[in-house]
């Protein structure tokens, strides 16, 4: 694995990400925008399932899915570019894996909410009590994912292998 990381570090893309004055910061900006739309949309849906803004029909919150998808694409593409710049920094840090576990878990819960509870809400049925707990769990996982992203800067053990 270390050989692969060394190889990535020497690719033109990786060198460009590290050596160009603007590249890293421009990509960081897009990553922050992507995360803000992804997590913002996810938090809005989580809060609604938790009972906030109950006057708005739950199933209609599906309109935020495209916003979240745009955010996810922005975050993933920019995240891959950031990863290309310093692959060893992220891939040797367990917090990086935890970030993905949290965001993946939050995304999975939002998907389950859409699958299980949006149709119930559309039929006018009352949601089970556990729906609120699932919403709260999703909200906390979004927060944990963001926290792990911020902690990456402070928990890495190395920047480069080569």
């Amino acid at each position: 694995m270390m050989d692969a990381l060394r190889w990535i570090e020497q690719t033109p893309l990786s060198l460009f990400m590290r050596e160009d004055f603007y590249a890293y910061f421009v990509v960081l900006i897009f990553h922050a925008w992507g995360m803000a739309f992804l997590v913002g949309g996810g938090m809005a849906i989580s809060l609604r399932v938790m009972g906030v803004a109950s006057g708005a029909r739950l199933e209609r919150f599906a309109v935020f899915f495209p916003v979240m998808w745009i955010g996810a694409v922005l975050a993933i593409v920019s995240g891959l570019l950031l990863l290309a710049g310093y692959p060893a920094k992220a891939l040797t840090n367990w917090v990086f894996a935890l970030k993905f576990a949290c965001l993946g878990g939050a995304g999975f819960l939002i998907w389950r909410i859409a699958q299980d509870y949006f149709p119930m809400a559309e039929r006018g049925e009352e949601l089970p009590k556990r729906a609120r707990w699932i919403g709260a769990a999703a909200f906390l996982l979004w927060c944990a994912g963001v926290a792990c992203g911020k902690l990456l800067l402070y928990t890495n053990k190395m920047l480069l292998l080569s």
């Binding site: 960081l28 922050a32 925008w33 913002g40 809005a44 109950s54 935020f64 916003v67 926290a147």
Partner: protein
């Protein structure tokens, strides 16, 4: 490095940060990282509430009652409070790095624009917007306010990232 012509008020802010213990707290192992986490979580809450409200008001998403969606706004206020409190800790801990930083200056201007824009919303269009049905189009003034609001907050996020690129007095 502190320049010789540093205004006394900046020195006073820095000294107050030291005397109050904020500087020491922020320079502990986890002081700055925890403040950064709270800061970005606050921005996420702002996007979850004000940002989503703006998208609805702009007409990019439809099918949600604006009045009901407005109930998310207190979370935006909480998010803004988290950002303001942690932002205060950053500035007090390192005033020269922020106050002379052009990205920080622009961030403050954008926040002021967002604040004035919010006032314009509540004074000029909020009643009309709250009366709209889930699929109704917001009036033009409301859509302009939404564009300015979302643009300002995305600009604030951008400046927040760029602040770290410019460290005027970092040795």
């Amino acid at each position: 490095m502190i320049p010789h012509d540093t205004p006394p008020f900046l020195l006073a802010i820095g000294q107050w940060g030291i005397d109050s213990g904020i500087y020491a707290l922020m320079n502990t192992r986890w002081g700055w990282p925890i403040a950064e986490i709270v800061h970005f979580l606050g921005l996420c809450l702002l996007m979850a509430s004000v940002g989503m409200f703006d998208l609805r008001m702009m007409g990019l998403v439809k099918g949600l009652s604006m009045k009901a969606l407005h109930r998310l706004v207190p979370f935006g206020v909480a998010g803004f409070s988290m950002c303001a409190a942690t932002g205060f800790l950053f500035v007090v801990s390192s005033p020269l790095e922020y106050i002379y930083n052009q990205a920080w200056q622009l961030k403050m201007v954008l926040m002021a624009i967002a604040g004035i824009n919010m006032l314009a919303f509540y004074l000029a269009v909020s009643k009309r917007v709250h009366a709209l049905g889930p699929d109704d189009k917001a009036p033009l003034a409301a859509r302009i306010i939404a564009v300015v609001s979302l643009g300002s907050w995305l600009g604030v996020i951008t400046c927040g990232r760029v602040i770290t690129a410019f460290r005027p007095f970092m040795e």
